[in-house]
Amino acid sequence: MHLLYFGWVRQKIGRAGEALEPPPGVADVAQLIAWLKTRGSGYAEALRDISALRVAVNQELAELGASVAQGDEIALFPPMTGG
């Protein structure tokens, strides 16, 4: 699974992205985030307030219940501020 982080999510986690293989129980975005939070204090801090996070699965905006699978590109980021 290819993970990407943007904005303050990237800054708090301390990296722009990484390839990870979550354990078998991780089947949706919410489970992925819960698992990521166990990986260290930067993750816990970045992902603490789930309502402040936005998610894209394979470059499409997705909800917390969206499925994730091996090979997916999952991006976690703050609300967008384009324009």
Binding site: G7, A56, Q59, E60, A75, P78, M80, T81, G82
Partner: protein
């Protein structure tokens, strides 16, 4: 035409390109977003725009398709910059061409409203009080939502 780029763009040639050779166009509306030197009470020295390459282009294409579905447009342009920009620098250009002025004006307004909340960009301000991420504004969510009601 949709472009995501670090470089500046030429406003005149981008707008003129929209109508070149198309005598069905009665109006071209455009909006240019610029870096301001303040945010609230704080002085801004620069902003750095980060984006999600790949998804950005897809989202801009989707927003453009939505505009084309809602209004009879002859053409449209979106150019969005990323990287470090200073006060006075251009950030974004949206331009719409239509036979009818109302369509051009409404589509232009729509595009910039939706870019604000649906284009995967994030802005880091370099201010006199240190660095800080620009937060999403509730006003911008309302401006986005207004077009859903109008649909």
């Amino acid at each position: 035409m949709i472009r995501v780029q670090r470089e500046d763009f030429d406003v005149g040639s981008e707008i003129e390109r929209l109508s070149a050779g198309n005598v069905k166009i009665g109006g071209i509306a455009s909006f240019i977003g610029l870096v301001r030197d303040f945010a609230g009470e704080t002085r801004v020295r620069a902003i750095t725009l980060e984006h999600y390459p790949g998804m950005t282009e897809k989202q801009l294409e989707k927003i453009a398709a939505e505009a084309r579905g809602r209004w009879p447009l002859e053409d449209l342009t979106i150019i969005h910059r990323y990287g470090r920009l200073e006060p006075g620098d251009r950030i974004v250009l949206v331009a719409t061409a239509s036979a009818h002025r109302e369509a051009a004006l409404a589509a232009c307004h729509f595009l910039i409203d939706w870019l604000k909340t649906k284009a995967p960009f994030w802005k880091l301000e370099d201010t006199s009080a240190g660095e800080r991420w620009v937060e999403a504004r509730e006003d911008d969510d309302h401006a986005t939502a207004r077009w859903l009601e109008k649909r």
